[in-house]
Symmetry: C2
Subunit: 259 residues, 2 copies
C-alpha cells in the first residue's frame, strides 16, 4: 500500500467535517429535488454541490487518484488500478429529502482494487465511523470492540425494502430467521450499524459508491462481503451485496442458493 | 379533563430523565434476558426495574390512577374509566438487548378512555417527544411544526417486519406505493418519526402500552389512528394499528379492504 492511511484518515475527517457544515447550511434553503431512474431515486442540488466539493479536495491532495462518484462530476472509471476514491456525497437521499435526518456522506478508498480505507459520516448525529485493513475501526476516533461472529438467529439484519417485500433471494425468509429485520433507507447507516455491533449484516442491491466505504471498514472487522454466489464485489458495477458475520453469511448464502 | 396537562408533562419529564439515568447505569452491568411469548419477544431485568420505578412515581403523584404496563407489576385493567397510565418501561427490547440503542420509554395517559397526554423518550439520544390534545407536540420542549397531510406516495412509512414479509393486509404493497418502508424495531421510535414529520405513518400489531403514548401525541397533530377497518383503537386489547396522515390513512384502508 502506497498510502499513509493515518494521514488519509485525518484528511478525510477534515473534508467530511467541512462537508457537514456546507450541507447543513444548504438545508436552511429550499432543496432543488429531481428524480433519476424512478420516482424514488432522487438527487438534489446538495448532493451535486457536495460531490464537487469533495472531488476538489481529493484532486488537490491525491492528483493521480481516480474518482468514482454518485453524481457524475467525477470520472467514469472502467478500471480499478491505482488509487480510486468512491464518493457518495449524500447517501440516503430520500431520507435527506423526506426526513432531514438519517443520511450519510461516504468515502471509500481502494488501491489496485483492494480496500485501503472507508469513512461514513452520519451528518445529523455528527458521527464518523472509519476503518480499513490497516486502520482499526472507530467511531469519532474511539476504537470499536471486536465484532462477535453471530449466527443469523442471534442478531438483527438490515434489508432492502423492495427485495424484502418480494422475498427476492429469500430475503424475507432470511429476515424471519434472524432476530429481526431493520430498514433505514441508507446503506451508510446500515454499515455504521454493523461496524458498531448493532446489526450482524445487511443485504441490498448497491452501486459501487454505496458499498465501497462500508466494505472497507467492516471487512477489516472480519465481516464477509460478497455477491449472493459468494463471489467478490465488483466495484465497477452495481449488484447484490451480502455483508454479514462469517457464520450468518454462510447461512444466508445457503438460503439464497435454495430454490 | 381533570388533569393539569402542563403539570403532568413536567412530572413525566422528570420521571423519564430519572429513568434514563437508572437504565444507563444498569446497561453497564450484564443484562438478565428472558424470552416471553416467542424467541424474539424479550424482557430484561432493566424493563422490570424501570416499570417498578415508574409505577411508584405514578402511584405517589396520582394515587387514584390505574396503571397498565408491559412488565406485569401494574394492575391488569379491564376498564378504562378514570385516569389510566399506560407504561412501556423499555420499548424495543430487542434493540435494547442487541443494539444498546434505538429503544424508548413511553408513558401514555388517558381519562375515561380519551387521550390526555403522551411522552416518548429515546434514551440514547436523550430526546423526549411529548404532546396531547391540549398540549402542542414538542421535542425536548421545542414546539414541532404542523404536519402536512401527505398522500401515501409522498412520504415514508414505518412497517412491522413479519407483516411486511408476509404482505399481510397488503402491507408490502402499501409500502411499495409509498416513498419507502422503514423498520426500526420500536413503536416508540416510529411515533417519534411521525411526530417530527419524518414518516407519514406506521402500521403494526401493537399492545395497549405500545400505542397509547404515540396515539395521544400524533392524534393531537391530526394523524388518524385506527384499526384496519377504520374503527377506534381498543386500549384493553392488542391489535392492528394504522396511524397515518388523513390522506394516506384513507389510501391505506382502501388497500387493506382489497382482497
Amino acid at each position: 500500500m502506497t498510502v499513509d492511511v493515518y494521514r488519509l484518515h485525518a484528511q478525510v475527517t477534515a473534508w467530511l467535517q467541512a462537508s457537514r457544515i456546507h450541507v447543513q447550511d444548504a438545508m436552511r434553503q429550499p432543496l432543488d429535488v429531481a428524480t433519476k431512474s424512478n420516482r424514488n431515486d432522487l438527487v438534489t442540488n446538495v448532493d451535486q454541490q457536495n460531490q464537487i466539493f469533495l472531488a476538489e479536495q481529493i484532486q488537490t491532495a491525491y492528483p493521480n487518484a481516480h474518482i468514482e462518484g454518485e453524481e457524475g462530476t467525477a470520472d467514469k472509471i472502467n478500471r480499478l488500478d491505482g488509487l480510486v476514491f468512491f464518493v457518495d456525497p449524500i447517501d440516503g437521499t430520500m431520507n435527506f429529502v423526506k426526513q432531514r435526518a438519517h443520511f450519510a456522506i461516504m468515502i471509500g478508498v481502494y488501491e489496485d482494487g483492494q480496500p485501503v480505507y472507508g469513512a461514513i459520516m452520519d451528518v445529523m448525529q455528527n458521527a464518523i465511523v472509519a476503518g480499513g485493513p490497516e486502520l482499526p475501526a472507530r467511531v469519532n476516533d474511539v476504537l470499536l470492540p471486536a465484532l462477535p461472529d453471530l449466527a443469523l438467529a442471534d442478531g438483527l439484519i438490515g434489508v432492502n425494502g423492495p427485495m424484502h417485500a418480494h422475498n427476492r433471494l429469500h430475503i424475507a425468509d432470511i429476515a424471519l430467521a434472524s432476530s429481526g429485520a431493520r430498514m433505514s433507507g441508507s446503506a451508510g447507516m446500515e454499515f455504521m450499524e454493523i461496524a458498531q455491533n448493532r446489526q450482524l449484516g445487511y443485504i441490498s442491491f448497491l452501486k459501487p459508491w454505496d458499498v465501497a466505504a462500508g466494505m472497507a471498514i467492516v471487512s477489516g472487522q472480519g465481516v464477509v462481503v460478497t455477491r449472493p454466489d459468494g463471489g467478490p464485489i465488483d466495484l465497477l458495477n452495481a449488484g447484490l451485496v451480502v455483508a454479514a458475520t462469517p457464520k450468518a453469511h454462510q447461512e444466508i448464502l445457503t438460503w439464497m442458493q435454495t430454490n
